[in-house]
């Protein structure tokens, strides 16, 4: 028992190990490429998004730089046009300047005022909303610079007017005289232009001067003229369009794209929260996580399911294998027992022979003694003689048994002879009739007179019939107990010219499922140890060998009929 349990535990252990390795490979094999594909997909997807996002930011920066630059260039060109189209005296004439200013405003309504300065910095003539004519600007920085450089563009300032503006000034030199024309330009034009930039949720654009002062408003906070609170290390020189990432003081990470303007030390900045810029990253990541969770779940679930199925299947096969092994062992043991029985029967015949001879001698001696008058007739003598006769009878019985065993045990020597079923079948029935009547079974014979001879080994045919009879009796007993059974054995010549023997019982019948398997070796419905499952398959083999066919028809709850069709003897 302990050994048995040990074996079972070992088997369970083996299954567990097998299960682990199958499960492991069934999960890993699809999961590794699955995750690899997702990873590679994610990598390339994010890289391409990053590239395209940065490219679009650079494009916006580039476009806007060009627009602002052309705005500035145009305004400068306006002034230069005026400066070179009119003389100082013409410009100094208020009416003339007013006409020019009106003309200029037609060109661009960004012009707020227009003024003329002489080389001392005196505001000679002025057209605009304020009374600035006559003022001295000789000490002002811008004046000094324009005198030196020839032109000047200021940073944006609020000035007296409290509106953001900047000035453009240009100098003309002629015949030893120098004069300057200056215009104030409202910045709303490019303020709007820059402010209008909107990328995603947080994308914005603004301009800083070289000291980091806002030249345009920033949507996310940062008023005009204030210093940019972010300590961004902006690229220093004319380094083209630059892209970098920076974390601001609130902890938001921004993606910056910047460029310096050509004519003015202004920095155009386009920035967007990184999370916003790469929003697609996040949705892709969520999607990928979702897919990996579902896909991984499906893979793992499937692996568990398949592994379970495989293991169950293996267990079943193992059990079947074991059962088959057991049946084989039983069958071989049975064969061994048969052989042993034959051997024993054979050996018993020798002592029986001696006993027989001794008995013969006793008989002769006894009759001699009686003849010579040495023994008188008496009751005791009669008893003795009766007893000696009994010994003879019992020896006869023993020899009958041993001969029966030997006959059963013999395997070889198939002797094919003509068999007359008319005599043969009743003989075989005679062998089981006793058993049948004990179980209350009525045995009916319907042997047609015209049943022709068949050819075969009588011993084998007897084996087949006895097997069928015994099966039938077992089936009947199982259903009816010891009353009401009926066994019908019939034989006649069939339509196909073959001899048909049928064995019909009114037992429980065979289920259609089992009916297909009845002739299979080792198939049995009897409890373990009761049937070898070989009987019918051997019968089938014998009939097949005789050139015949064996068939079965059965109805559950009605009964079973076995048919044997054999060729007529030639």
């Amino acid at each position: 028992m302990f050994l048995f349990l040990g074996v079972r535990a070992m088997k369970e252990h083996r299954y567990a190990g097998l299960r682990r390795s199958i499960l492991g490979s069934m999960i890993l094999v699809p999961l590794v490429p699955f995750i690899l594909i997702l990873g590679i997909g994610y990598y390339y997807f994010t890289t391409s998004i990053q590239t395209s996002t940065i490219a679009s930011m650079k494009r916006i920066v580039g476009d806007h730089r060009q627009m602002i630059e052309s705005f500035l260039t145009e305004r400068k060109a306006n002034l230069e046009y005026i400066l070179y189209s009119y003389s100082f005296d013409e410009l100094a004439e208020p009416q003339k300047l007013y006409d020019i200013f009106c003309q200029l405003q037609k060109e661009s309504n960004a012009f707020l005022d227009l003024g003329l300065f002489n080389e001392e910095g005196i505001h000679v003539n002025y057209q605009g909303p304020y009374k600035l004519a006559g003022r001295d600007y000789g000490k002002e920085d811008w004046f000094k610079e324009v005198m030196k450089e020839g032109h000047y563009i200021s940073d944006i300032f609020l000035g007296y007017r409290r509106i953001p503006h900047f000035v453009i000034a240009t100098k003309r030199e002629e015949a030893g005289r120098k004069w300057i024309i200056r215009a104030t330009i409202d910045t709303y034009m490019f303020n709007d232009l820059v402010k209008k930039v909107r990328i995603g949720r947080t994308g914005e654009a603004y301009i800083l001067n070289k000291d980091g002062v806002f030249q345009t408003e920033r949507r996310s906070g940062g008023n005009l003229m204030e210093i940019d609170p972010e300590k961004v290390r902006y690229p220093s020189s004319q380094s083209g369009i630059i892209n970098f990432i920076h974390k601001d003081e609130r902890g938001e990470t921004y993606c910056y794209t910047t460029t310096w303007l050509k004519d003015k030390d202004w920095l155009l900045v386009v920035r967007q929260e990184k999370a916003d810029a790469f929003k697609a990253f996040r949705s892709a990541a969520y999607l990928i996580i979702l897919i990996s969770l579902i896909g991984g779940g499906v893979i793992i679930g499937l692996a568990f399911y398949m592994t379970d199925r495989i293991i169950r299947r293996m267990k079943r096969i193992d059990i079947e294998k074991e059962q088959l092994g057991d049946q084989l062992i039983r069958a071989s043991r049975l064969a061994e027992i048969g052989e042993m029985a034959t051997g024993i029967a054979h050996e018993i015949n020798n002592p029986l022979q001696i006993m027989n001879s001794e008995h013969g001698l006793i008989e002769v001696l006894l009759s001699d003694l009686k003849e010579h008058g040495d023994l008188k007739e008496s009751e005791d003598l009669k008893e003795l003689e009766d007893s000696i006769d009994q010994i003879k009878i019992q020896i006869g019985r023993c020899s009958k048994i041993t001969h029966a065993v030997l006959k059963f045990g013999r395997q070889s020597d198939v002797v094919s002879t003509d068999i007359d079923l008319g005599g043969f079948i009743p003989e075989v029935i005679g062998l089981v009739e006793n058993k049948a009547s004990v179980e209350g079974i009525t045995v009916k014979q319907d042997i047609s007179e015209d049943t022709p001879l068949i050819q075969g080994d009588p011993g084998q045919l007897q084996q087949v019939l006895i097997n069928l009879f015994n099966n039938a009796i077992d089936a009947i007993v199982e259903r009816h107990g010891s009353e009401g059974g009926e066994l019908v054995i019939a034989s006649h010549i069939g339509e196909d010219g073959k001899v048909e023997i049928s064995v019909k019982d009114n037992g429980g019948g065979i289920s259609p499922d089992n009916l297909k398997k009845v002739f299979q070796p080792f198939f049995t419905t009897k409890p373990v140890g009761k049937g070898t499952g070989l009987g019918l398959s051997v019968c089938y083999g014998i009939i097949d060998h005789m050139g015949g066919i064996m068939e079965v028809s059965s109805q559950k709850g009605v009964g079973t009929t076995f048919f044997i069709r054999l060729p007529v003897a030639t």
């Binding site: 054979h346 020798n350 001696i354 027989n356 001698l361 001699d368 006959k407 020597d413």
Partner: protein, 149 residues
């Protein structure tokens, strides 16, 4: 008429002795041998007509002994005594020249009956031989002279 002389060959000594006693009681001349070789030895020294030979014996078995007897003493009739119900050994014996076979356990009366039959057969055969020889005498006296030579 010549009296039948039998020999029983079996490895069971008790069977030999009892059966011998029985046969002697019934008035037959009986010899016994416990092995094939002993049987052959006795055949050489005695004029035996019928041998009852057990098939299964240690050493030289029944069939071997039968073959040897038939080779050395073709005129001796042999009845096989088989413990096996199969016709197998009996058939083999008959093919090898045995006259008949008996199944163990056999009744002494059956044994005597078969032995008598075998003896009759032998007598008839001897008779035939005698007749044939007589004919040849009559045909050619020279033949007789040649035969005796």
């Amino acid at each position: 008429m010549e009296k039948m002389k039998m020999m029983l060959v079996d490895d069971e000594e008790r069977f030999l002795s009892t059966t011998k006693k029985l046969l002697l009681k019934k008035g037959y001349d009986v010899l016994t041998a416990v092995s094939g070789s002993e049987a052959l030895e006795k055949l050489r020294t005695h004029n035996i007509h019928v041998v009852i030979l057990d098939v299964k014996m240690p050493g030289m078995d029944g069939i071997e002994t039968l073959k040897a007897i038939k080779k050395l003493f073709p005129m001796v009739e042999v009845i096989m005594l088989t413990g096996h119900a199969t016709a197998e050994s009996a058939v083999q014996g008959l093919k090898s020249g045995a006259t008949d076979y008996l199944m163990k356990p056999t009744d002494v009366n059956d044994l005597i009956e078969k032995a008598e039959e075998a003896f009759d057969k032998r007598q008839r055969l001897e008779e035939k031989i005698r007749v044939a020889q007589t004919r040849s005498f009559m045909k050619s006296p020279r033949q007789i002279i040649r035969d005796t030579e």
